[in-house]
Amino acid sequence: MPASAATDLGEVSDIDLVKRSQAGDTRAFDMLVTKYRGRIYAMTYHLIQNETEAWDLAQEAFIKAWRALPNFKLDAGFYTWLYRIAHNVTYDWLRKRKIQGDGEFDDERTEHRVAAGAEATPKGDPAPDMALRNAELGHRIQAAIAKLSPEHRQVIVLREVEGLAYEEIAALVPCSLGTVMSRLFYARKKLQEQLKDVYETTL
């Protein structure tokens, strides 16, 4: 992406870019891709926990969005609409994996997995390097999330990363509000169990 185009991103509204894209302007769509690829990729990555497949799924989401653009109503937010497409693409992938028996994720599938034998900093031992400790904690959290079932991982990502309200999560999944709350509760309990040693030192 040329520097001039990148500069344009903040100056051109989504509505203008969407209108131009709907008229067949692929450069305008390219600007939308550049604007939102980081957020869409983060969502697919957090759900999939695999860099290559998350990359492919994010790309597939944009392709599907291009195909569906003629039906996009300008009264809705483009990112919300795009996010829903990306979520559906990713969750369909997860469902197929589950049907094929690969539903649960393990450490081998986590690219940013924790090094063998890595544990939380021992109790009472002051961390010599806060940045390193912080990075290690991040890896522990990602590994723990990767071990959740797709349903639990989904609500955690939607709530904690995307900051969606319960009603928005229920509409997106889709499921009842009660199911959203139950999944969030049990997902957090499972994470707590996996990260107990981390939080014993942190608290």
Binding site: R39, R67, L137, V161, M181
Partner: protein
Amino acid sequence: MKPPSEEHDLIRWLDGEMDETERAAFEARIKANPALAQEAEEMRALSAGIRAHLPAEMAVPHADFFNSQIQVRIGQMEIDEARRREAVAPVLGSLLSWLRQSWLTAAGAVAVAVVAFLSLRPSSEDAHSLILSSYTPSAGVQTVTFHDDNADATVLMLDGLEEVPADRKISGISISRSETEPEMASTTLFDAAGSPQLVIFRDAAGNPQFWASKPRG
């Protein structure tokens, strides 16, 4: 295990989904219950940790390639679509005009016989198809099927149709079914020279597809 309402209260408080009254009541419960207070604090710490370490936006690896691949795929889709429209339009036009011929309407739309293949069973002794029943919309048209050993083909004859003019571009229809994929059937329309003009079939996903030959210049 806690009752669901208590679990829901805890995470609703954690996620800021309670109104003021509910929140005040729940925080009073936390103050009065050390175990609940500890669980609430642990969950809040976990939630903060997740938010701190799972970014909502990430750098896309090979970002320029990511964009360029999308552009390539969009371009390819548009080329494919243009080719499909270009290839189909003339043949479909001629097919529709063929179907609108007066001889056809005068015959009460009996020119096309609909054959129901209830079962096509390859026999171990002779591998020809067995047509169990057939249907034509007009009582004046009869279907006769038989296996031609010389041609090694199952022949479907429609008796009672008005004569189809010999100069029609499309003069023959065959229906075939894959031997390896029994659900895969195709219908082929041929011109007077025996060249396929239009093939209607289903793809691997079961979606109807058609292939049309390029119009002759």
